[in-house]
Amino acid sequence: MRIRIARTRLLAAAVIMMLVVVACTDDQLVRLSNALDDTTAALTALHTGVAAAAAANPPLMSDALIVKIGGLELKMNKALQDALNATEKVAKLSPADRTNLSNILTPVISAVNDAVKDPDIAGIKNEKTRATIQTSLVLIQTTLTTSQLMLVKK
C-alpha cells in the first residue's frame, strides 16, 4: 500500500516536471528550430545541385567555381551544425544563447548575401544548374534571416 502511494507521488512529480518543461518552452525557440530545419533542407538541395553539376561529364561548372561554392557550402553547413548543437539541449533561449547563436549566424548570412550577388554564380552557363543554385541560395538566405530574427528578444 505504502509502495503504491510512493509510486503515485512519483508519477505526480513526473507529470508536474513535464508540465514545467512544456510551460517553459520558448515560442521563438520553436520558430528558430523550424527555420533551422528549413535551412538544413535548403543546404541539402544546394549541395545536390552543385554535386550533380560537378559530377556531370564534362562538369557543368569550372573546377574553380566548384571549389568556391563548395567552400561556401562548408561554411554554411558548419555554422548550421554549431547552431543545431547550441539549440539541442535548451528549452528556452537565454540571453547568452541568443548572443551565441547570433555570433554563429551573422557571418554566414553575410557570406550568403554575397553569394546571391556573385557574378560567377550568375554567369553559370547551364540554366538548370544556375537556377538550382540561385534558388537554393535565396532560400538559405531567407531561412537564416528568419533564424536570426528569432534571436531578437520579443
Binding site: R2, D63, V67, G70
Partner: protein, 65 residues
C-alpha cells in the same frame, strides 16, 4: 524510508525518466503541431553527411600540383 521503498522509487524513476525525456524531445505547441527538438538529431546527421560529401567534392576538383 526503508530500503525497499528506495529501490522501488529508483526502479520507477528508471522506467519513467526515458518517457519524460521522450516527451521533452517532442513537445507540441499552441501555434501548430511542430516539435522543438525531435528534428535536431536527424538534421545533425544530414549536416554531417553534407560536410563529408562537400569536402570530398572539393578534394576531387581542387587544382592538382
Amino acid at each position: 524510508m526503508d530500503l525497499e521503498k528506495i529501490v522501488e522509487a529508483v526502479n520507477l524513476f528508471n522506467t519513467t525518466a526515458p518517457a519524460i525525456a521522450q516527451i521533452f524531445m517532442s513537445i507540441k505547441h499552441a501555434d501548430g503541431t511542430e516539435t522543438v527538438l525531435t528534428h535536431v538529431h536527424s538534421n545533425q546527421e544530414q549536416v554531417a553527411k553534407n560536410i563529408a560529401d562537400i569536402q570530398a567534392m572539393i578534394d576531387a576538383h581542387q587544382p592538382k600540383g
